[in-house]
Symmetry: C2
Subunit: 142 residues, 2 copies
DNA sequence: CGAAAAATGTTTTATATCATAACATTATAG
DNA sequence: CTATAATGTTATGATATAAAACATTTTTCG
């Protein structure tokens, strides 16, 4: 049998758990979990998307997205707006408070990401890692 | 805000989920989950280790390891033996049937891993990926 | 030696994550 | 206009993970 240390899936899982632990620790001051971070990031970058669209982008079942978005909305960071073109759907937008929060979030994220890049040995290695991971995800590299 | 596609932790998570989906699909014929695969691999490579030692290697809480090992033992693939040097602990060993199973497992795993290596672009890229992931896990690169 | 502390495996419990089914409302197709 | 599909939601079950408490056994050390 191959050694565990050479198995791609195993190494990926361990690295992902380790990085998420760093993330969770770094973001404990903002009480923000990775899923919430990713939702806020997408809303900040592309406001107005439908709930289902964001859920699908992130690989989250729309049923499970509801509670996630409830929490974000209850904290006053983002809001659902009824789209008048399609009154079934909710388009998602940051609140003014959410805009402020996202700026803080970006600073905390930079702290976290910089630490990871240092571990990797530089931005060049980061780019190489992203490229290799994209090849694994392929073909839908979003 | 940075695009999600450039965020290390996010890309890592997506790649890991994708690879695990491939793993689960490939191993459905053996009805084997990733955690069971890793336990059997370690027992095959280093028989006689204590339950706690294997659990810790894999980052599994020893409380959660119990049910995992129960399942493996009930399938007749491995067994707990009371160590006479320390009668608290159980040392883990494959059964003869487990030895046969592990050989089948290795063949199925090669099929899965080969597909991943092709996606990456070759063994060289695989090695590079493992190296980068190790840097993230650091310093305990097991 | 003998008592306190630690290690090992186990059970129980709580929490978080993820998938599935069913439903009401609204939009679209034919 | 009716049948079908899409959207958000609720409810439920399965799985993964973490923590606490316990019995048994070993180790520590006064």
């Amino acid at each position: 049998m191959p050694a565990m240390s050479t198995i791609i899936g195993y190494k990926l899982r361990r690295a992902q758990l380790h990085v998420f632990q760093d993330f969770i620790g770094t973001f404990s001051k903002l009480k923000l979990r990775p899923a919430e971070f990713s939702v806020l990031t997408i809303i900040a970058n592309t406001p107005g998307l439908k709930q289902s669209e964001i859920a699908e982008m992130l690989g989250i079942k729309r049923a499970n997205f509801v509670a996630l978005m409830d929490g974000i909305e209850k904290r006053g960071l983002a809001e659902r707006r009824k789209a008048d073109t399609d009154r079934r759907s909710h388009s998602l937008h940051l609140t003014p408070e959410g805009e402020k929060f996202v700026r803080k979030m970006a600073a905390v994220w930079a702290e976290h990401e910089t630490r990871l890049i240092e571990r990797l040995g530089g931005a060049r290695e980061r780019d190489r890692l992203i490229e290799l991971l994209d090849r694994l995800i392929e073909p839908a590299g979003q």
